[in-house]
């Protein structure tokens, strides 16, 4: 982001770069940088809060008053304490013969479809596998978790990208199961820690790590601090 700021500034446009990671924006030193200590993914701070977003923009545009390069810290921080989890009701068991994660994913489809209709596919689920194949993808990760090498388990793509689509499917469905804007990461924590599919993804990732698979193949299946 800051690299682009330097390039656009050199082309004759005044730039203001927002940054969420202090060291990154401070060290890259864009001509005008505003560090906002907000969660990653939310550079304007709070969704569905126009007043808050306008305040951030006002601070950003105020940097244009400086006659020289400037770095500033925004005076409000939004810290993720790692505790909030989306409260999304999961579907009851429908097909006792199916693995719980597969049954769960199938049961969430109406919520996924409702969220798509309301918000569109903003999260970008379905970039590697169409949503119709989510259950098959989960089944392949179940096999990986049980010890099948991922290349023999029918994983329909690079595991990290397939995992991204499963998470996107679940987080999109979550939009239809919640009535408020959750804190950052609350949806991801719900998926990873409170759903059967999340457990499968984590187990498959661990199995690949234990099997000595190349780290980029499995590491990016979930946020890197997991």
């Amino acid at each position: 982001m800051s690299t682009l700021a330097h390039i656009f500034e050199a082309a004759g446009m005044a730039t203001i770069a927002l940054g969420s990671v202090k060291d990154q924006i401070k060290n890259a030193a864009p001509p005008r940088g505003l560090w906002c200590d907000f969660p990653l993914g939310r550079p304007l701070g709070i969704p569905q809060n126009a007043e808050f977003q306008h305040r951030v923009l006002a601070e950003a545009f105020s940097l244009l008053d400086s006659k020289q390069t400037v770095f500033k810290e925004y005076d409000i921080a939004i810290r993720d304490e790692g505790t909030e989890v989306m409260a999304c009701a999961l579907p009851p068991r429908h097909d006792p013969k199916a693995h719980p994660a597969v049954d769960e994913a199938n049961g969430l489809r109406p919520a996924y479809e409702r969220a798509l209709a309301k918000y569109g596919n903003r999260i970008g689920a379905g970039r590697t596998i169409p949503s119709e194949q989510i259950s098959e993808a989960i089944e392949s990760f179940i096999r990986v978790a049980e010890g099948t090498p991922w290349k023999e388990a029918g994983v329909p793509g690079i595991p990290a990208r397939v995992s991204q689509d499963i998470r996107g499917y679940y987080e999109t469905a979550a939009l239809a199961l919640s009535d408020h804007a959750p804190e950052a990461w609350a949806g991801t924590r719900w998926f990873l820690d409170h759903t059967e599919a999340g457990k499968v993804v984590l187990s498959a990732r661990q199995a690949m790590a234990d099997a000595g698979e190349k780290q980029p193949i499995w590491f990016y299946m979930v946020p890197g601090d997991r």
């Binding site: 550079p43 126009a50 810290r79 903003r122």
Partner: protein
Amino acid sequence: MTDSDVKAMTADIEVPSFKVAAFTSPVKLSEAKVAIVTSASLHHPDDEGFSPGDVGYRVLESNKRDYVLGHWSPNFDAIGYALDINTVFPIDRLDELAARGIIGSVSDKHLSYAGNQFELSAIRMDSGPAGAKFLKEQDVDIVLLTPV
């Protein structure tokens, strides 16, 4: 898992250095045309999505709102954007500022790149300058850059 844990992973990532930082004196904000440039890999469903390592850019138009978050990193919250695109791409906020006369106007065109790139030479030498030229051709005066 917390946001600070994820941010801490970026502590050792080297950032590019610019020996001479360019500095452009801005036109008056109330007369300026403003564009957004985001590194969130936003793209329209009708346009080509971003591949991992994609160093190109996509043009975003002011009159559309159905943009897909095409970033391949798992290391950010996507639900904020899903609920409100202004969380990343504050196009409605800019429209409101223009209506109030605080900024001169909002560009019809904006740009999106893929952040989380470790090899930046192509962006520095090619797609970055190309995107800047494109926005200059739109008579953009001020660029607001947003990450994810």
